[in-house]
């Protein structure tokens, strides 16, 4: 820009000027994107809220205006509260089983200098199985009669377990595959670790901190920010998880794995109560928007 304003030829100004008008190029470049976003994001969002006030009929939309009846119905519905509890239970199980795994993996991998690229690609292997395929594979491993897991566990005197067929275990069984599919998360933490200035580590070495101590006092604290961000996307991700429940258990046994997202799917595409589905969607949107708002706040703070 500097070069342009100091340019020797006066006509340059004429060339620079259009830059600050909304040019036709800008319009042609932006129109498709704006159209797509309005059509596929904002319009459906408004529609979702709008629908939630109606006893929505697809044949003759929008149907009867019922004001807040759909929301009242939710509050009285035991199904909704069951799904709500399940969603939070899943959140805790995912947290206990999976959230810390990539952090530990990355911090420890950081200590291995030898063949670390190969190790990283081995960590990525489970990610190379398409998610749906992975769930079906695990369903086969869980098979109570012919599955590998019950077979392996009997060597150490455990089982046989019902896994996905057991209401007490179904939630844990759905989450367990996630423990071994954390390759992407591991890469995020690993790339963050590469940004630690080596002077800090050298300094700590000179101060006599051993490797464990360095991990605790320098490496781990430097990840705090990334962990915070990851935690928020983790909450959103868990909150919206649909695929593993739908594929592995379909919400059963005894509704023990039916979450809010499954409820949205069922009430709209199985029971065709679009108004109720809209109201659940809106409740979920408010929660997620709040969490994402926190995320943006947190990102900007740094």
């Amino acid at each position: 820009m500097k070069a342009a304003t100091q340019g020797p030829k006066p006509q340059l100004h004429a060339r620079v000027k259009p830059r600050f008008k909304i040019s036709w190029t800008a319009i042609t470049f932006l129109t498709p994107a704006i159209l797509c976003f309005v059509l596929f994001k904002y319009y459906p969002l408004i529609q979702a809220v709008y629908m939630s006030f109606f006893d929505y009929k697809v044949i003759n939309p929008p149907g009867k205006f019922v004001w807040l009846d759909n929301y009242k119905y939710l509050i009285d519905s035991s199904e909704f509260w069951n799904a709500f509890r399940n969603t939070f239970a899943f959140f805790f199980i995912y947290f206990i089983l999976t959230f810390w795994v990539p952090i530990v993996q990355a911090v420890l991998l950081n200590e291995i200098k030898f063949a670390s690229k190969t190790l990283r690609s081995l960590y990525l292997l489970p990610t190379a199985v398409p998610a749906v395929a992975g769930y079906l594979l695990w369903k086969w491993l869980y098979n109570p009669d012919y599955g590998l897991l019950n077979y392996l566990l009997h060597f150490i005197g455990l089982g046989p377990y019902g896994w996905l067929n057991d209401p007490a275990m179904a939630k844990w069984s759905i989450v367990l595959p996630g423990v071994f599919a954390t390759g992407m998360g591991m890469l995020i933490y690993y790339s963050a670790l590469q940004g630690i200035p080596s002077e800090n580590i050298e300094a700590a070495k000179i101060d006599g901190a051993g490797p464990w101590r360095r991990m605790r006092s320098i490496v781990f604290p430097s990840l705090k920010f990334v962990i915070g961000i990851q935690f928020i996307s983790f909450i959103c991700g868990v909150f919206l998880t649909f695929d593993p429940m739908y594929i592995m258990t379909g919400g059963g046994p005894a509704s023990s794995t039916r979450t809010l997202s499954m409820l949205v799917f069922n009430s709209s595409f199985k029971e065709f109560r679009f108004g109720v589905a809209g109201s659940i969607s809106f409740v979920m949107f408010v929660i997620i928007a709040f969490i994402t708002y926190l995320q943006i706040k947190l990102t900007n703070k740094d």
């Binding site: 909304i22 470049f29 932006l30 319009y43 969002l45 960590y123 990525l124 890469l187 595409f269």
Partner: protein, 443 residues
């Protein structure tokens, strides 16, 4: 280490041990299921449901039988065919709990080969319930089924008449492997099969390990005879996925690239800031929250049950615009100015200068989009309600509910679905690491 004159730190050994064992544990735990998937996909219908399970699939055996028709009355082609079918189907039915990979029957009369017939195990699996539902073995039952066998091409039969000289062995070996012995026992006791067993043997046939993949290819396609509906095969669903993923990537690169460039270089910073917020704020809108209205929108646009219906909503990803804008902002603006001074239009600057310089961001977005869209399940499940537009993820979910498909065939479908993603992930690891550090830290 000590040789290099370094002082060994206290605790460095324990860190090493823990690091290596944790890495070993997780890598082993992720390889075992993969191994199990591949191994299961090669098992036959019997071994797959064995408990305790076996780690490796058994190599299927091909049973070769030579039947001798010396001294029989003049048999016609149909009679030979009937006899061959009985020898194959009835024998196999008796041995259905054993891992037979294929059966081949050669008919010999007066030292000349009369016919050859063969059937691989996957055809037997497909036809079993139709052709040999019970153990009853009579001419009448097989005569009834003969037309069905021909129609479905279950068993290959070539009639040679009086063709080549038979040049194989002429006696039965004294010690037979198990399956050949069982087949021999049944064939020599049988009253229906006219030919006498001249030789019988079995050989391991590793090619039959891939039968499940062939079943997958053949069984899931075609026209359903009962309802008359056309059903589609796994290759069709894979092709749908490839189309959806490919077109999505192209659209995202065009729409996201141009919009990102406009936001970074063509607008006043205030306008650009508001518009960026307009795009990026949509990250907050979760897919499930707008699932229903989006479906209804697609319905209004008459895009339900089309591939475009699956593709188009992907053009509105806030994160893509965010990534493009971030990258374009870092381009040296001197270059763009130089273009402007040379009198190039903004379009030309974008295509001639910006795009060639921005290969990294285009490839990163392409790879990240590929992974996300290839894996996608919920949206195709909702919007693709007829089989012809299913992506492979929807199809896989449907396969697991089909009674006719065994776990071994399902596992082979998983293996095939894994291959493209595996290729991308292993060959683009660098790009993924780059992409992850772009997106992971910024949300």
């Amino acid at each position: 280490m000590a040789g290099r004159g370094r002082i060994k730190e206290k605790g460095s050994l324990s860190v090493k041990i823990v690091s290596y064992s944790v890495a070993a544990f997780f890598i082993l735990a992720s390889i075992v299921p993969l191994f199990w998937m591949v191994s299961s996909s090669m098992k036959d219908n019997i071994t797959i449901y064995k408990f305790p399970p076996t780690w490796l699939p058994e190599v299927p055996k091909t049973v070769n039988v030579t039947l001798n028709y010396d001294g029989t009355d003049d048999l016609k082609k149909e009679d030979y065919e009937l006899d061959a079918m009985e020898a194959i189907w009835f024998t196999w039915k008796r041995m259905q709990n054993e891992a037979v990979g294929a059966m081949k029957v050669t008919g010999v009369k007066d030292g000349e080969v009369v016919y050859k017939a063969s059937m691989p195990s996957y055809k037997f699996t497909v036809g079993r319930s139709e052709i040999v539902p019970t153990m009853i073995a009579t001419h009448a039952t097989m005569k009834n089924k003969l037309q069905k066998i021909r129609d479905n091409k279950y068993t290959a039969f070539t009639f040679l008449g009086e063709g080549d000289k038979y040049s194989g062995e002429t006696t039965i070996r004294p010690e037979l492997p198990q399956q050949a012995a069982n087949a021999l026992k049944w064939l020599s006791e049988s009253k229906v099969v006219k030919g006498k067993v001249q030789t019988i043997d079995e050989i391991s046939d590793w090619k039959r390990l891939f039968d499940n993949y062939i079943v997958l290819w053949e069984m899931t396609g075609g026209v359903d005879s009962k309802s008359g509906t056309v059903s589609y095969g796994f290759p069709h669903f894979l092709l749908n996925s490839v189309l959806v993923t490919g077109i999505t990537i192209i659209l995202q690169l065009i729409i996201g690239g141009t919009a990102g460039y406009a936001l970074a270089h063509l607008l006043r910073s205030k306008t650009s800031g508001w518009l960026t917020l307009f795009f990026v704020a949509t990250i907050m809108i979760p897919e499930i929250a707008i699932l229903v209205p989006l479906y209804l929108t697609m319905d209004k646009l008459h895009l339900v049950n089309t591939l475009w219906g699956i593709i188009l909503p992907h053009t509105a990803w806030g994160i893509v615009i965010f990534l493009f804008k971030g990258f374009f902002e870092q381009l040296p603006s001197e270059l763009l100015q130089a273009g402007r001074i040379d009198g190039a239009s903004e379009m030309k600057i974008f295509y001639r200068i910006v795009v060639p310089m921005s290969a990294p961001i285009f490839t990163v977005v392409a790879v990240m989009t590929f992974i996300a869209v290839w894996n996608e399940f919920l949206w195709p499940l909702v919007v693709a309600r007829t089989q012809n537009v299913w992506t492979f993820t929807v199809a896989l979910n449907d396969f697991q509910q089909r009674r006719s498909l065994g776990s071994n065939v399902i596992m082979s479908s998983l293996v095939i679905a894994t291959i493209p993603l595996m290729l991308i992930i292993t060959s683009c690891q660098k790009l993924i690491e780059k992409g992850v550090s772009f997106t992971g830290l910024k949300g």
